[in-house]
Symmetry: C2
Subunit: 402 residues, 2 copies
């Protein structure tokens, strides 16, 4: 008899609690698991022995929590080193934890890699299973990652609405999208288009070099063609030497514990708008940052994402119960469209990030391809709202003043 | 036999096309109305004779457009003077328009006031009916205005999600909400709270003077109490002399044609976050601006708002057909909760804005009252998503390190 522990790391998503529910409900099926604990705020909660007994949750409540965005156990940005993992291991041993399921991105997988090593060194039997999660969709070995489809759906609904707003009042609209070095979430904005002249008309991905002069030329040409311009910009756009555009433009830059540049805040959108206003002399230029709503908004979720996030949690438990010592659950695509799962080595997903393939990006670098449309469409789920237009005929002019 | 014309002015909303459909479908019922035209981009489209024949729309398509956010006819920020209204009048006369329905806020109503005057001077029979619309909820004589309930619902769902995100990763979160000089939309954020420690913990309204020192003290106290802090801030907050906080903090300020300070962009959120970081030494401080999504997001709407926005359009036509020369359709509240409509004089809604009454604001000035909760709750509509939490019991500590 042993115990299972589950924790959540990194940025919350709309479906990370589905994975939590998947782990807990699946682990309850196995009589060899005495109880299922949860760690508050990820590894930090383990180090502080801040644990909860999830066996006292009702299945009813777990289902309600599963449908709620955010990380119900709390999360952390801590990235443990060997010493930190040894501290954690002592807590796991004291509480007779034999299975540890950690839901998160590649930093989370790396924590499990170190912890699994230390457990072996200490000859302590511990299964360390990584459950994938990231809105950035940048995990290696995965067709896509839970959290991304729901965030992509938010981006689609946001741009579909922003396009209508811009069509009504004209001018230029620039919105900055999450995703760091991966353009998937920004590229998803293209799915907001329905009619041929719908925005976003320009999409700037971190997979391509961003040049301010080219950007201004693109915006000008789009305004001349459509009388307006909707632009999707990744927070991670950078120049040819890899320097992020926001760091060039912003006064001060905050770095978090992982030494990643802090990309949130409204600086990038505002500064790009300033450039458009001052260089192109366009009066109505509006910029905004879609921000935390992309991953947290209550009431925008892909049902496909919900289902898969639940399944990666369930599969994690199944792999552990079948004897896996460590590994990461990966989502594969079969046909069009079904998902299958496999366990891959932790080292296959740690330390690297996946970006968009060239096949997904148009030749001019400011749009996506049909290959990306076919990739994303089934992930967005059912019931995506649709925009409709008037199709009225013009009334013949009588005064002919214009 | 005469024609009816409908137009949309000012910022789009999630339900302004419901009012459009209400006018068009209701006008079709009357055999004395030969046809229903629409003006592209509000009064600007009239001046340019840029009109469409809405009689060629199917009812099916009008229903789909009604459910779509944005201003389907296009909108304008033009605020016509007497000369501009005389130009418009010539176009209306040329096209034998006898009824003009203009959907918008108080600037839109003022255009109708001038136009109605000029029509009388010219002895041209023209009914000028204002159909109310504004997410700011700041129209006089109205219990509330179409567009506000859906925008409020977006704000509620945004803060409910942001609160969960903040609870997972802790720190301070500041989001700036629309509304200019009226705090209704910012105050709506309070409805995101479910559990006693849920955010927003602090709400700053333009109906109260904003003092930076008090703000910092409030944030510090909240962090000490809850270990985190979620703040809702109106874009229109100002100091004791009426100077808007964003203008104090931002480098440059753009003014639009109405001589209102341009409050969009991420400046206010970013600058407040800077103050918190530098004065309170809190590491994780995140700010964002909910921005245009509040009025444009595709897929977040109050069904009560949809219904009422449709009805104000229908009622506008009915008042005109019963002989009204001019006026503004106003929403009244009866019981809890039903809406009724009446026609009020244009001058009752022009040139002034409504703000939150003292009964809606808590004594300390950073929260709302139960009176406001009762006011807003029925407007948010059915099916608002709800957040749920784990209720797990703590596991007893063994190592007792902390």
């Amino acid at each position: 008899m042993t115990r299972a522990l589950v924790a959540q790391g990194g940025g919350p998503t709309a479906v990370i609690n589905q994975s939590l529910a998947g782990v807990v409900l699946e682990a309850r099926r196995f009589s060899t698991i005495e109880s299922v604990y949860g760690a508050c705020h990820g590894v930090r909660g383990i180090a502080l022995e801040d644990l909860v007994d999830l066996g006292q949750e009702t299945a009813q409540q777990l289902e309600l929590v599963a449908a709620t965005p955010g990380s119900a156990l709390g999360s952390t940005r801590d990235k443990p080193d060997v010493k930190y993992c040894q501290d954690i291991l002592r807590v796991l041993q004291a509480h007779e934890i034999g299975y540890f399921f950690y839901i998160g991105g590649n930093d989370t997988a790396d924590t499990l890699r170190i912890l699994s090593q230390e457990a072996r060194k200490a000859a302590y039997p511990l299964a360390c299973i990584h459950v994938p999660k990231t809105v950035d969709n940048d995990l290696m070995c995965n067709d896509h990652t839970p959290g991304f489809p729901s965030a992509a759906r938010f981006v689609v609904q946001a741009f579909a609405g922003a396009n209508l707003d811009n069509a009504a009042l004209l001018g230029v609209y620039v919105a900055v999208v999450m995703g760091r070095h991966a353009g998937f979430l920004t590229a998803a904005s293209a799915m907001a288009r329905k009619y041929p002249d719908d925005g976003p008309h320009l999409i700037y991905l971190p997979e391509r070099v961003f040049a301010l002069e080219k950007f201004l030329t693109d915006v000008k040409a789009t305004c001349e063609r459509f009388g307006r311009c909707v632009v999707a910009v990744s927070e991670g756009i950078h120049d040819s030497s890899g320097v992020e555009i926001v760091t060039q433009l912003a006064k001060s830059v905050e770095r978090d514990a992982h030494h990643n540049v802090q990309l949130s805040g409204g600086a990038l959108a505002d500064l790009l708008c300033e450039e458009i206003k001052s260089n192109l002399k366009i009066k109505r230029v509006r910029g905004e940052t879609l921000g935390y709503l992309q991953r947290s908004f209550l009431g925008c979720v892909s049902d496909v994402d919900q289902r898969e996030a639940r399944e990666v949690g369930e599969k994690a438990v199944q792999y552990a119960m079948r004897g896996a010592q460590d590994g990461s659950v990966a989502i594969k695509r079969t046909g069009s469209y079904a998902a299958s799962y496999e366990l891959t080595a932790l080292t296959n997903v740690t330390g690297k990030t996946r970006t968009m393939s060239d096949a997904f990006i148009s030749a001019d670098g400011t749009d996506i391809t049909d290959a990306f449309r076919l990739y994303l469409l089934p992930l967005l789920g059912s019931g995506t709202p649709e925009a409709h237009r008037l199709r009225s005929n013009s009334v013949e002019k009588i005064l002919k003043k214009s």
